[in-house]
């Protein structure tokens, strides 16, 4: 049994599904990275993902067009982000608690709409695996790295883009300075409000896509509370990745591999109760938070509302 676990098919299987499963983490956590670098802690990610997942599923199911579904998820994410931005930037609401409010809203609302508009669990045909000429045909590697759908590739493409924007552009500089010292940035004429609106709405959009990547890319269904804590883990990954896109990538891969490993344990019938195996990623999150907390420093203005001196 244990030897079977280390056979090449299983290891390749874990790698391939691990790479796939990292997708929602990547979208959500990269979005959250931008928000936190600008000093905003968005804990509503899970709710945004759920609504995005539902919107993508529902529109794809009704129209048969996956791209329209993805667009719907983007719009829903943007609207949720806009609301979050107004509450945190203009009303200076406590970010931790308002985020939980948005989470509950997304949780209830996606369930309500699902029950009213869809009713029973239905599967749809999600984004198909993209066949890349030559690369996909490489024997083992093609299977592991180049047999995924477009949303998976999009997530990985996002990492270098996010790194570039944060580190090499004026916008990135503004975001980082606002996260460290909004008073100073403000005195230099940077609009703290505008930049935070931008990062929060972008975070909402990416969370929406993260949800869509589940409902029309990986699982191709919608179910009540289908994210089951994934959005919160994504927030934790930002801490783990030390607020850097590359670190987030590492964290996302670590998590998805652990998840894939856990799923394969069940597939192979290893005698570990599945309920305990499912615990693994959550326990790992806590351990990872402990490890991350001791070695890196959060953006100074994180979760602090900005008020201009009179």
């Amino acid at each position: 049994m244990i030897t079977k676990l280390f056979s090449s098919t299983v290891i390749l299987g874990i790698l391939a599904s691990g790479i796939r499963l990292a997708t929602p983490y990547l979208y959500a956590a990269i979005g959250e990275t931008f928000g936190q670098r600008s000093g905003v802690l968005n804990l509503g990610v899970e709710g945004q993902m759920l609504l995005g997942a539902f919107a993508a599923f529902y529109v794809s199911w009704r129209t048969g067009n996956l791209w329209l579904g993805l667009l719907a998820a983007i719009i829903v994410g943007a609207v949720m982000g806009l609301a979050m931005a107004f509450v945190t930037v203009n009303l200076h609401a406590e970010q931790g608690i308002s985020g939980i409010g948005f989470y509950l809203f997304g949780l209830g609302m996606s369930d309500l709409l699902f029950q009213k508009l869809v009713g029973t669990v239905k599967t749809i045909q999600g984004f198909p695996a993209l066949h890349i000429p030559v690369l996909s045909d490489i024997p083992v590697l093609g299977e592991v790295f180049f047999s995924h759908n477009i949303l998976v590739y999009g997530a990985y493409a996002l990492v270098p883009i996010a790194w570039f924007v944060l580190n090499k552009t004026t916008l990135g500089l503004k975001i980082r300075s606002i996260g460290e010292n909004p008073q100073a940035a403000d005195s230099l004429g940077i609009s703290v409000a505008a930049v935070r609106y931008y990062t929060i709405i972008q975070g909402g959009i990416l969370s929406g896509i993260a949800g869509a990547s589940l409902s029309i890319g990986l699982l191709n269904v919608f179910q009540q509370n289908m994210t089951s804590g994934l959005g919160f883990i994504a927030v934790a990954l930002v801490y783990f990745g030390a607020w850097r896109p590359l670190g987030v990538l590492g964290g996302a891969l670590l998590f998805s591999m652990v998840n894939a490993f856990q799923l394969w344990l069940q597939v192979l019938g290893v005698p570990i109760p599945s309920d305990l195996a499912v615990m693994l990623p959550y326990v790992l999150t806590i351990l990872v938070l402990v490890a991350a907390a001791s070695k890196v420093r959060a953006p100074s203005a994180l979760a602090k509302p900005f008020e201009r001196e009179a």
């Binding site: 609301a83 939980i100 409010g101 948005f102 209830g108 609302m109 009213k116 999150t285």
Partner: protein, 385 residues
Amino acid sequence: MRAWLDTLIDALLPLAATLLALLVGAVMLLFLKVNPVVAYKALLVGAFGSTNAIAETLVKATPLLLVGLGICISFQGNVINIGGEGQMIVGAILGTLVGLTLTDWPGWLVITLAMVAGFIGGAIWGGIPGVLKAYFGVNEILSTVMMNAIAVQLMNYLLRGPMIDPAQAAMASKIPQTARLPMDFRLPRLVPTRLHLGALIALILAFLVYIFLWRTVWGYRIRAVGKNPHASRYAGINVKRYVVLALLLSGAFAGLAGVIQVYGVNYRMITDGSSTGFTGGAGFNGIVAALFGNLHPIGTIPASILFGALLVGANKMQRVVQVPSALITALNGLVVVFVVSSEIWRRKRQRRRLSSDQSDAGGGEGEDAPVQESPADEPQPEVQG
């Protein structure tokens, strides 16, 4: 006079937030082609329409109040405990184990021991994130959410395996639930409805928590740490210890809520397979109730009844106009968002009052501390030791 008016406005703000949420809910209902007047009327009748309905409302309010009391303690200490669900579950697990093990002990003793066990279970599940926050700098919101997920899996594992009802284990269906507790172990009912002693216990505890927070040194220090950890440290308070205490107590009350659900309502521990199981989402909704009650134990009493009513009424609404009760989860989320958003007006008034108080003393507001509220009418820390 001014202070009296301020208290009134403070109490009315959450009410306005709720009305606004209900208004948004009405718009959503219109989109779903449901008449909101009919829906809300069904909700009201379902919650208060008969003696039974009122009793059900109070039954639902009980875990909300208990969890809410814990939330009052932790949020007053500026520690955000989102782990009510997990703490309820672990409390219930330990409490149920007591009842299933000591089957031939007298009922009153077992119930008492079970409550103690639940209190301890919740305290452990809340204490772990407390220690992680105080000594390792781990964000407690994230750790408590993870602890929820772990507790749910633990419950699923135990109820499907070691703790499963032997009768279910023999059947093919294998519903994940424990055996039924003996009759003597049920919490006594107060009136010929499902209202049980737990409601009274929760009510008494609300007053005790008030006394704890405002009349004891420990409670005072928790609040001082919550208002201003730096000043508290200079005043000689061991800040870390009180962060742990706040989360530990917060979890303990949720654990108690879990036990009381088992011994007062279900008489066994059960998961319906959903992500929440037997808690009915009280671990989250208790946060809503506590915020609504301005994080004051006494204010949380009517707040719990209100949200208990929403939950009970939602079932009726589901039957009458076919609106899934998930609507209430969504509305609760909006209430949270609106209540924390309305804080800005409270802070503004507080600041105005403070600056008018201090104008003759010549004191300004000092350096900027946007999150920390000025400790308005509280005495300055004079803690010894």
